[in-house]
């Protein structure tokens, strides 16, 4: 029994220190991340990009949908015949 209770002690210490450390570490991370976010907001603000980066070409909405459907089908067909 001596030996097994020794084992349980090790298990307990591992749990206490384990969870303790995980919480300490992640709490620090929360704190530091918050600091970083505020720092970036103040000193390194990003120019609010007007149009979303990958906007499709300004095609009139109506025929765009139908055309895109055709094209994506063609692409799928093209891709099935030319597997990269």
């Amino acid at each position: 029994m001596m030996e097994s209770s020794d084992l349980i002690n090790e298990g307990l210490t591992l749990m206490v220190f384990g969870m303790g450390f995980v919480f300490v570490f992640l709490t620090l991370l929360v704190f530091v991340t918050g600091l970083m976010s505020r720092f970036v907001e103040r000193y390194l603000p990003e120019p609010v990009s007007a149009a979303p980066a990958a906007a499709p070409a300004p095609v009139t909405a109506t025929d765009d949908g139908q055309l895109v459907a055709v094209i994506s089908a063609a692409i799928k067909q093209y891709r099935s015949r030319h597997p990269r």
Binding site: S4, S5, L7, I8, E10, G11, L12, T13, L14, M15, F17, G18, M19, F21, V22, F23, V24, F25, L26, T27, L28, L29, V30, V32, T33, G34, M36, S37, V40, L44, E46
Partner: protein, 433 residues
């Protein structure tokens, strides 16, 4: 005629042991789960197939040159190896293997050379295991790929969710206690190292589990990897009951405030921040979280698209194939077919359950304290198993309230859990490694 007999005596059927047949069946079952039920197929297909290959009688694909010489060799080579490891000629196989395991460098080299001179070589899967897992390289490279696929936006928008990622790791340490408890009751036979390796299943993270198991308890690697990946696939079954049990209807209806848009700079700073913190506080987690942050930095910095794309595709796919086969090579009957495996499977599901519960309880506490509402359903995503656990939270949220889109909110704790389990792994390697 003698050739014909040789043909038959050296055939698989003739030498098939009962254990090997069972393990081939286990391999086939894993393939069934992966292909038909879509259980983490990217891992369980190679692992299942590797398991079948490892148990082909007489082929010795998963054995080292010395083990092959002892199994397939004639008496002279067996005696030669016995002498090499310091036993006299008549020693039996078990004793020789034990002596070989603890032999010092010189005896080790001599034994290997005797086997190679007698034309026995390392099995194909043994070589894959040595290169991929014994070196620790494969899990770390996959973790780099995972980092390159992870978007920390949702976490940065709500850093408090890191607490959920922390709480959900309690499943790991509770299971360590479970394993140690079972041993003290004499039911199981796990050392503290074995218990730690079993606990990590609760981290719900493949690469971390394989990395820790290969360091702390290589003999349990097969069972631990199978349990880890199976339970990750079972998340949509294990978590919902616990989530419904611990949350009230009104809590499940809670709608959370829109997440703010996170700019490029913050996403670049975060992995570096995390790396510095690991460097200062937990060097033992440096390999795991170091490669994870490297992958994430490559993704976010925008100037190394080629490298990030390769890390997420060609590189991670190649390494996954060999990692899977190497894990499969550990699915040998003597290591898998015993009580320990049963213990591992049971403890593994408990680890997931406790992790889920702690995540939800933590979320309930934080919901009380914090100004903005926090729907406890996202707490369960803290176990990581990215992105399934987040999808489960989202699904249950929608059931309770059709306008309640929790997915992005749940991604916060989900990716936080990856950091949480890596930190837990680091602590265990330090204290028990």
């Amino acid at each position: 005629m003698e050739k014909l007999i040789l043909l038959f005596t050296s055939s698989g059927l003739f030498n098939l042991q009962f254990g090997q047949a069972i393990m081939i069946a286990v391999g086939l079952m894993l393939l069934f789960l992966a292909i038909k039920k879509n259980f983490e197929p990217l891992l369980l297909v190679p692992i299942g197939f590797g398991g079948i290959l490892a148990n082909i009688p007489e082929a010795g694909l998963a054995f080292s040159a010395v083990e092959n010489a002892l199994h397939l060799g004639g008496p002279e080579v067996i005696n030669a190896i016995a002498q090499a490891v310091g036993l006299d000629a008549g020693a039996d196989l078990k004793a020789i293997k034990a002596a070989y395991g603890v032999s010092d460098a010189a005896a080790h080299v001599l034994a290997v050379q005797t086997a190679v001179d007698a034309n026995f070589n390392n099995g194909m899967l043994y070589n894959f295991y040595t290169v991929a897992i014994a070196s620790g390289a494969a899990p770390l490279i996959i973790f780099m790929g995972v980092g390159a696929m992870t978007d920390f936006g949702p976490l940065l928008a709500n850093p408090k969710t890191l607490f959920l990622g922390a709480a959900a790791q309690f499943g790991i340490f509770a299971t360590v206690l479970g394993a140690v408890g079972l041993t003290s009751m004499g039911v199981m036979d796990f050392s503290i190292k074995d218990a730690a390796a079993i606990g990590i299943i609760g981290g719900a993270d493949g690469p971390t589990a394989i990395y820790v198991a290969s360091l702390l308890a290589p003999h349990l690697l097969g069972a631990i990897a199978v349990a880890a990946y199976s339970y990750m696939a079972l998340v949509p079954m294990i978590q919902p009951p616990i989530m419904r049990l611990l949350t009230t209807e009104s809590e499940r209806k809670l709608q959370m405030t829109q997440l703010r848009h996170i700019g490029k700079t913050e996403k670049i700073f975060f992995p570096l921040l995390l790396l510095i913190l690991v460097a200062m506080l937990l060097p033992d987690a440096a390999p795991l979280l170091g490669m994870f942050c490297f992958g994430n930095l490559m993704r976010e910095c925008g100037v190394v698209e080629r490298l990030s794309d390769t890390a997420q595709n060609a590189l991670i796919n190649v390494v996954t194939i060999f990692l899977g086969l190497s894990v499969g090579s550990k699915l040998s009957a003597d290591k898998f077919l015993d009580l320990n495996t049963l213990g591992i499977l049971v403890l593994g599901v408990i680890a997931f359950g406790i992790g889920t519960a702690c995540g939800i309880l933590m979320a309930k506490v934080m919901n009380k304290l914090s100004s903005t509402p926090i729907n406890p359903l996202i707490g369960s995503a803290g176990v990581s198993a990215v992105p399934m656990a987040a999808r489960v939270s989202n699904k249950l949220g929608l059931e309770a309230n059709p306008q309640n889109f929790l997915l992005m909110h749940a991604m916060g704790p989900n990716v936080a859990g990856v950091i949480g389990s890596a930190v837990a792994a680091g602590v265990m390697i330090k204290f028990v490694g």
